[in-house]
Symmetry: C2
Subunit: 199 residues, 2 copies
């Protein structure tokens, strides 16, 4: 098998740093052609991102809209507009984490949560996955329940504007771009299936 030639095997690992959001490891690996080296990796929990969609028939005269959260981000040092998202707790089901983050950050519950896909956010140096869910049939349930250092404003944003603006101004979160791509794929497939079945 071709990809077996490309595999590197681990012989040892060392923890360089433990932090509340990840650990940094140095992993010593050997290639099948005799090379070896130490590689820096982040050992991080899985993440979840929720795409909360209000369809045009839920009283949005601007067409379909996303419920988005506005918050300060400590990596970029900027306030961003993005989808509700967070870390999956140890042993927690990704879908349960999606429900939880949606409710905590926006106060909404979803009549249906559809898994859109999951991917390694950065396989070059991270070992975790991000799971993306579409939240439909949204109902406002209660006030936000934020973590100690979370301050979040919620907004409705037209779907088209978010797609057009992504990567500019406050629309500046790559994990959200991942979620948008999974969302686009789902909508295209839904459209193709409707044409195919004559719905």
């Amino acid at each position: 098998m071709k990809d077996q030639q490309l595999m590197w095997n681990e012989s040892s690992r060392e923890t360089l740093l433990e932090s509340p959001i990840f650990s940094v490891r140095s992993i010593h690996r050997h290639s099948s052609d005799g090379r070896e080296g130490d590689f820096i990796c982040l050992d991080a929990p899985d993440w979840v991102t929720v795409v909360p969609l209000l369809s045009g028939d839920q009283g949005c005269d601007q067409g379909p809209q996303f419920i988005m959260v506005e918050q300060f981000r400590h990596g970029s040092g900027k306030v961003t507009f993005e989808f509700p998202a967070g870390t999956i707790d140890p042993g927690e089901d990704p879908q349960r984490a999606a429900e939880r983050e949606l409710l905590e950050e926006t106060g909404y519950t979803a009549g249906s949560l559809i898994p859109l896909g999951n991917v390694s956010p950065n396989p070059a140096f991270m070992n975790n996955r991000v799971h993306v869910f579409l939240a439909n049939d949204l109902i406002w349930h209660k006030e936000q329940e934020l973590d100690e250092n979370e301050q979040i404003h919620t907004h409705l944003e037209p779907v088209d504007r978010v797609r057009q603006q992504m990567g500019t101004g406050a629309y500046d979160n790559g994990v959200m771009v991942i979620a948008l791509q999974f969302f686009s794929r789902y909508k295209e497939k839904l459209g193709a299936d409707r044409i195919r079945t004559g719905e």
Copy 2:
């Protein structure tokens, strides 16, 4: 201004770890409503990802295809299929880095390189940006020039298959999903402009 309420201001920072691919900092910040805390951030160089597109009229009977690289990734511990990508050198122009990575990893040069967008890959804890370029009019130029620990196979992959498979099997790189979303947006805008101008 609403987002001023959400800003946190830095009062001090400490370096916890220096590594070849990033540094880990602990940043002490204060919010406008009197909260404070230490936040872990990765200080990393900017990245570039190149979407190398062979159009249907460049001899691909399966329609448009991407040139993709197959390599072992030390974070996920897996072999992935992805776009050519890498780190932008200090002071290097992102477009120049795109040309360089494309040539080094695939041996191709592009007749045109179009900037598709850039975004913070993860503003929650990273301070860098990823720049995405579309590479058109590709010409095979020479053999790969790989870094010491790089082993890369190149493949042609149909555009539709990559979009459909993303997040499964070896199609498992979130930064590539970001690039796909920017690529999709560009192609849609191009299509809309052609309809608008009657081309």
